[in-house]
Amino acid sequence: MTPSAGGRHSKLIGAAEIGPTLLRFGRDGCSVCLGGLFKQGRPVALVRELIRTGLSDLRLFSSPGSGYDVDLLIAAGRVAETFLPAVTLENRFCPSFRGAVERGEITAHAIDALTVVGGLMAAAHGVPFQPVAAWAGSDVTSLNPLARPIASPFGDEPLYAVPAIRPDLVLLHAQEGDEYGNLRNLSTMTYADALMARAGQHVVASVDKLVPNEAILRDPRGTTVAGIYVDAVVEIPFGAHPTASFPHYSMDESFIERFADLAEAGRRAGSTAEVTAYLERFVLGPADIFDYLEALGGYRALAPLEREARFL
């Protein structure tokens, strides 16, 4: 018992506060950076909330591999510019991204992993730029708006500088976290999440399970993102769905396939009706995460994903 004049402030927010929190940290045209990788550990529930806020003209960053969630943001018309190395559902193209670029509706820069990671490293390290030396011969380098040739102060190796990337808003998903914003990834891979948290100006995180601070204190090395870097944390069960949140649940491949099928059909037909209906059903319509989970088939659809994740 400490005779403190007041208690320690919690960073925990409720589901209804997500939208207002995103609006507090973001604005039209701001930069947003998404954690996870491809079909794993993506903050998809937060992305759905971001779409619901109506924030638009977003400048989109991500760890070097992105797919479903950025395609959803683009389908919803929220994105002006992308700084995304690979945009793919891995086994197929991202239909909305592809269509928007082909129609000239968004600017999709030629960027690679070293650009994004180097820029985030510079920001995390508190320096104005990160040197990059491993580029030669690629059109990605020559078109990259974030790569600037510099002279090396040591030797004459061709060298570039990537400026610090300090996203206005970083969205992350972790398996566990406490009310003070300490995040704990239980997955084997943790991507660039910790780097983004250190680089970002504002960080909002969803966790599958809120845990007591005591659980964090029992394993400090298990904390992947310290609470000092996190502005708000919210418990969202299955918050990464349809991407995986290992070891809690695996990716929902068929859910992603169904989205890709209809978005691709819309792209080919030059029609927005398919995507509009999808957004209404899964993004704008559901009042909360539980509504969303019901809309996709309820626990009957989720239990197999949990089982698959137990058999890695």
Binding site: L37, F38, K39, Q40, S63, P64, G65, L84, P85, A86, V87, T88, E90, N91, F93, C94, F97, R98, V101, E102, G104, A108, A110, I111, D112, A113, L114, V117, G118, M121, A133, A134, W135, A136, G137, S138, D139, V140, T141, L143, P158, S187, T188, M189, T190, Y191, A192, A194, L195, A244, F246, P247, S250, M251, E308, A309, F311, L312
Partner: protein
């Protein structure tokens, strides 16, 4: 062609044979065939291959998946890394890496970005996360799961990963000092590169395929022996290890990967 093995199994076996014991390498995302090749090489002749460079070290997959870059595909591994460590690996390079492409050209350049003009492409592809392993690694392999005039072109519209650019001089000018692409493996044949021009040339035809067919389906001219060698097909032993140790679920098996 044979029903004894699928195209995926064939390519995995061919790649595995070229990986040496003690080397370090990685496969990227959507890397079913390359990861199968690495695991097969480890099981057959190269127990000291180190798998590193993609945020995990020496994975132990229980089975193969279409993507080999997530916890489900890893099984487990000896160490977990992040994009920060990957940044370092990208600069130092690996011994071997693998690339595929929307377009692949006569000099082994790879396009994963856009077909048509950059600003308004007729097809915008996924791009690539890592363009440096091809540049910095000792060598890389190109794998293609289809082989037509549409994807095998004289010159790519966009160089995502440089192969030999426009030949030896342009490679040197761009600062490319490693071996670059060693082989290009397709469902029809194996190409290697003429040391003088650094253009693809036919190395061997897979069993059941003909030179006329490959000429007809390739969008660039390539050198070829009038009576090309035939690719040595997977041995019974290679197939047995592949199917029992590496790919027990049959992700590569006939009917699961395209056959030609």
């Amino acid at each position: 062609m044979s029903e004894r093995y699928s195209t995926g199994e064939l390519l995995a076996v061919l790649l595995a044979r070229d990986l040496r014991d003690g080397e370090t390498g990685a496969a990227g995302a959507a890397a079913l065939i390359p990861m199968a090749a690495i695991m097969l090489a480890r099981a057959m002749h190269a127990p000291n291959i180190q798998i590193a460079g993609e945020m995990f070290v020496n994975p132990r997959p229980r089975q193969l998946w279409d993507s080999m870059l997530d916890d489900r595909a890893l099984g487990t591994c000896e160490a977990s890394e992040t994009f920060t460590e990957l940044f370092g690996h990208s600069h130092r390079g690996l011994d071997f890496f693998f690339h595929s492409g929307l377009q692949i050209d006569a000099h082994g350049n790879i396009n994963l970005h856009a077909i048509g003009p950059w600003d308004r492409p007729t097809l915008r592809g996924p791009g690539a996360a890592n363009i440096s392993y091809g540049v910095r690694s000792r060598r890389f392999y190109i794998t293609a799961t289809s082989h037509t005039r549409r994807n095998f072109v004289e010159r790519v519209d966009f160089v995502t990963v440089p192969g030999n650019l426009d030949g030896p001089d342009s490679r040197a000018r761009a600062g490319l000092v490693r071996e670059g692409p060693r082989y290009c493996l397709t469902p029809r044949c194996v190409f290697d590169f003429d040391p003088e021009t650094l253009r693809m040339r036919l190395r061997s035809l897979h069993p059941g395929h003909t030179l006329e067919e490959v000429v007809a389906e390739t969008g660039f001219r390539f050198a070829a022996d009038p009576e090309p060698a035939t690719t040595v097909p997977p041995s019974d032993d290679e197939l047995r290890v592949l199917r029992t140790v590496v790919d027990p679920r049959g992700a590569l098996a006939p009917g699961r990967t395209a056959r030609h």
